[in-house]
């Protein structure tokens, strides 16, 4: 490790004494004006040239330096009367409370001093001073800067005098170091004026000068200070002096912090609150978070993103205009001299270079004119900043960067037009879509950075998520529908079609024999992508979860079985290749490596897109058309539900009068009678909606595109469909039926205390049939709650995330597996207390025992099946004998 050149041993926080303020001051400021009529700064004004230079060409009157050398110099304002510093208001209150109002001695007893020495906490003050016997009065801090002693207001002058009386010996007991922080310094007599560099004035296009907020505030301070002084010297009435004094206190306070509680913020003429000292530092836009913790960087670019299914998931399309600005430094060496020369000769036109850096550090800009000349002059040892080219490693990022997959390394691919292009399959990890999203791109500048990014950050390294040990990158939407159409049952393809598909996936090798009369099945084509030794079986997304699974004899083609890289039965859908859930994807990435995984995703998505193009796919509102008789049935269901609801309400009303009476609603244990009714009603209404959905679903079969999408896991759900075709169901606000609105009713359309379904937000219409006005209103209420929830959730979870990251950012797993912080303190004795890398886990488990068993047993099972000869799907019937259940446990033991 590289040694630390300078180690910070300690930091001291001191108070600035009036003496120091005057000593560091270059000039006293007395005039509130800045520039005279000729535009020259006024001496002893706020823009005094002794305070530093901001205009190029001029020299500083104090240090003689030019703009770049002069750091700026402080000035000072002598305050006519002392002013309390807001930042120390609390500390002053504590000091006044702890010391005698007359002699300044400590108010706590000798015994307590010892405790005080150790704790340095507040003191419970005595009523009588133990030193001089003076009776003490209670002092209250009236925020922000007024102190009252039993109703009597203390002037800052009095406060300062009292603080002066506290002796040096006593200060350590109060937590102060007398050498560096005398308490009376907390009441200001001198105000430092920051250098002009800190508050530069801007010259507008019209030639008008616009001053910085701080300058404005200082003008206020000076003006009032002057008036106060004049009035005081002229012997003005006490009242007027006090008013001015208070006004000066206000201006100084807002100069420090314009968001002090209890006083109105000082405003600009336009009504905008001034940004004073505290506002410059505080918060997200403050100096710390925005300029010190975070900085703007070079070699980065940002633009709108758009999709490109033809590039690999680890590529990113970079607009050629960006590529000409983003450069990569290349050291010229004997082996690349010729290539670099060619690039330099191109000059600023692509693929060229922008700068040559000579070994002496001189940067030379390459222009169209001098390009040829410099190309000839190029020598080994030079560095050339060449344009971004295909294959360069870049970092790609989308905010909010919530997890490590929000910033991944891609290979650049220079393209025309002006957007970044990315493969659709990497949208989920970035949480990107193309409704105007913008993303950032950073070009790496050193060999080490490129190596690190390539090894750790490339997209394929992040296919498996550390969140749950499954893939976050995979097929989505159309890819899944496409794969479904390709492989469902015996989808047939002609030679032409097969060749189109096969060429899209760069297949080289012999085509399998056509399954039936010169036609290939989709399953055969899909199998071309699978590794030759892949064996898997699992239930597809379309599986209906029958009580007894018929395994590969499934009539819905929902049992996926892959034998030696051949898809034998089952359809490929969300469960197989989808992002977040793709089983085949998981296995390929895990068993065949990340690059194989990347290639698989690239090809499977391309294949699916070709398949869906060949087969054709469309969906529309008429997908949810159901026959008249089904509509009647649904109406029937709704009527029945309504009747049930009314029966329940009647029973409830009986129970209210006399719970023991026959037919009364029986109260559920732990619930009030009202709650019982609500639960029962929810049950009835929920069932009604489900039943309506079922009726609708019965008429929507697997030939329905909307159903295909829902069932295969491409987009939407059966619930969405039944809400479109059947009934929308109960709307809720805060998890309950809608009950708010008017007195004892939700809307004036209903009777008071109407508990029936319609009056409490049950929507029996479907999206397709349309909603009644009251239903529409209730639906909007539910929808509004959803929107508010997401808005609240994002801001809250964002803050939580920030706090968590601040707490965890410097924890590190050491070579011995322990987790430690920068101080070397052990946080965990082994990572995660189990040393499991969740990325490498199988959906959270360290080892997938079932998988191991299956792998070992497969050979045996296979030999048994082989004898029975499995019919390849694509041939009509599939009534196969059940696969012998591998009796797991015992056989493992033997293995």
């Amino acid at each position: 490790m590289i040694g630390v050149p300078k180690r910070v041993k300690s930091i001291n926080f001191n108070l600035l004494s009036p003496k120091e303020m005057r000593a560091m001051s270059a000039t006293k400021i007395i005039t509130a004006d800045t520039y005279d009529d000729d535009g020259f700064p006024i001496d002893m004004g706020l823009m005094d040239p002794k305070l530093g230079v901001i205009e190029p060409g001029l020299r500083c009157k104090t240090c003689g330096g030019r703009v770049d050398d002069c750091p700026g110099h402080f000035g000072h304002i002598d305050l006519a009367m002392p002013i309390v510093h807001v930042g120390y208001a609390k500390l002053i209150a504590y000091l006044l409370e702890s010391t005698c109002r007359k002699c300044g001695g400590l108010l706590f007893s000798k015994e307590k001093v010892k405790i005080q020495l150790e704790n340095k906490g507040n003191t419970s003050s005595a009523t009588i001073c133990p030193h001089c016997g003076e009776k003490q009065k209670k002092i209250v801090l009236d925020k922000p800067t007024t102190y009252r002693e039993e109703g009597h207001k203390l002037t800052p002058k009095e406060i300062r005098e009292r603080l002066e009386r506290i002796s040096d010996e006593n200060l350590p007991l109060l937590g102060l170091n007398p050498k560096t922080a005398r308490p009376e310094w907390m009441v200001l007599t001198v105000l430092p004026v920051p250098p002009v560099n800190v508050r530069p004035s801007i010259t507008l296009e019209s030639g008008e000068r616009s001053e910085d907020d701080l300058t404005h505030k200082l003008v206020d301070v000076l003006r009032i200070n002057q008036r106060l002084q004049e009035n005081r010297d002229a012997g003005a009435p006490q009242l007027i002096v006090e008013d001015l004094w208070e006004l000066l206190q206000y201006h100084v306070t807002t100069y420090f912090d314009n968001q002090t509680a209890g006083i109105p913020p000082a405003r600009h003429r336009s009504g905008r609150a001034l940004k004073t000292l505290t506002q410059r530092l505080k918060g997200k836009e403050g100096r710390f978070r925005s300029n010190l913790s975070g900085k703007r960087v070079n070699f980065s670019s940002r633009t709108v993103i758009s999709p490109d299914p033809n590039i690999s998931i680890n590529e990113v399309g970079v607009p050629i205009d960006s590529a000409k600005e983003l450069t990569v430094p290349v050291s010229v060496a004997p082996y690349n001299l010729e290539t670099v020369k060619k690039i330099v000769a191109n000059g600023p036109s692509y693929p060229g270079a922008n700068y040559i850096i000579r070994p002496d550090g001189r940067r030379i800009k390459i222009t169209q004119k001098n390009a040829e000349e410099f190309a000839e002059k190029l020598e080994v040892g030079f560095t050339v900043e060449r344009h971004l080219m295909d294959g360069d490693i870049v970092l790609f990022n989308r905010q909010p960067s919530l997890h490590r997959m929000s910033m991944m390394a891609h290979e650049a691919r220079i393209m025309p037009y002006r957007t970044f292009r990315l493969n659709l399959a990497v949208c989920p990890p970035y949480n990107a879509d193309f409704d105007g999203d913008e993303m950032n791109l950073h070009v790496l500048q050193s060999e080490e950075a490129r190596a690190e990014a390539k090894i750790l950050m490339m997209v394929q390294e992040h296919i498996l998520s550390p969140r749950f040990g499954g893939s976050v990158i995979g097929a989505l939407h159309d890819h899944i529908t496409g794969a479904f159409l390709l492989t469902y049952r015996d989808a047939k393809f002609t030679k032409d079609e097969v060749l189109t598909m096969v060429s899209a996936i760069d297949f080289t090798g012999k085509l399998p024999k056509p399954a039936k009369d010169n036609h290939w099945t989709g399953k055969q084509i899909f199998s071309l992508l699978l590794p030759k030794d892949l064996n898997m079986d699992f239930r597809a997304s379309i599986c209906k979860l029958c009580d007894i699974c018929k395994k590969h004899g499934c009539r819905d083609d929902a049992y996926v079985m892959i034998k030696n890289g051949n898809l034998v039965t089952g359809v490929i859908d969300g469960r197989a290749i989808g992002a977040f859930k793709g089983k085949i994807l998981d296995k390929i990435v895990r068993d065949y490596g990340k690059d194989a995984g990347r290639e698989f995703i690239d090809k499977v998505t391309k294949l699916a897109i070709i398949a869906i193009t060949i087969k054709g796919f469309t969906t529309g509102i008429d997908d949810e058309d159901i026959p008249e008789e089904a509509k009647k049935q649904i109406e029937e269901i709704m009527k029945k539900a309504e009747k049930d609801v009314n029966t329940l309400i009647d029973a409830y009303k009986i129970a209210l009068v006399d719970p023991s009476k026959k037919g009364a609603l029986e109260q559920m244990p732990g619930r009030s009678i009202q709650e019982t009714l609500e639960v029962e009603l929810m049950k009835v209404l929920g069932r009604a909606r489900d039943d309506a959905g079922k009726v609708a679903g019965k008429h929507l079969g697997m030939d329905n595109p909307a159903v295909i999408m829902a069932v295969s896991g491409a987009r939407g759900s059966m619930l969405n469909l039944s809400q479109m075709a059947g009934s929308i169901g109960q709307q809720s606000v805060r998890g309950e039926r809608i009950k708010r609105g008017y007195q004892d009713r939700t809307l004036p359309h209903f009777q008071k205390d109407d508990l029936s379904s319609g009056a409490r937000g049950f929507v029996k219409s479907s999206y397709k049939s349309g909603l009644t006005p009251t239903e529409y209103f209730f639906h909007s209420m539910g929808g509004r709650e959803g929107l508010v929830d997401t808005a609240v959730r994002t801001s809250r979870s964002g803050y939580m995330q920030r706090r968590m990251i601040n707490a965890l950012e410097d924890l590190k797993v050491k070579y011995d597996g322990s987790v430690r912080n920068t101080a070397g303190t052990i946080i965990q004795f082994s990572y995660g207390e189990d040393n499991i890398d969740p990325t490498k886990s199988v959906r959270g488990d360290a080892v997938d025992i079932d998988e191991v068993v299956r792998n070992i047993l497969h050979f045996e099972v296979e030999s048994k099946i082989e004898g029975e000869e499995i019919k390849v799907a694509g041939e009509e019937e599939m009534g196969l004998p059940k696969e012998p259940e591998p009796s797991t446990e015992i056989e493992v033991e033997e293995e």
Binding site: D816, A823, I836
Partner: protein, 111 residues
Amino acid sequence: MLLSGCADNPGKPGGQGFKSPQARGSEGFQGERMKIDVTKHKLVPEHVLLSDTESKDVLKKYNVSRDSLPQIPVTDPCARMLGAKPGQIIKIIRRSQTAGSFTAYRMVVEA
């Protein structure tokens, strides 16, 4: 809180229904006597007080000073049961679904 003594007298936790630790026969008992034996609770992992030599071994194993270990206050019920003193090290053996068992060490500190 679920307590081993609860079954005897569910109505009054901490009442007469509780037997003293001795009566229940806690072996090797050397720490403070408490009304409730928290170590018997199923959610409380096993705590073991380490000897000086064992402590040294642990510190050597992780190459740390005592201060770099996580801490446990002397007032912690388990530490009190063990009669631990500040500076000593307590070994905590937790059951883990993923790792079987997991051992952590904590240095006893003044509360």
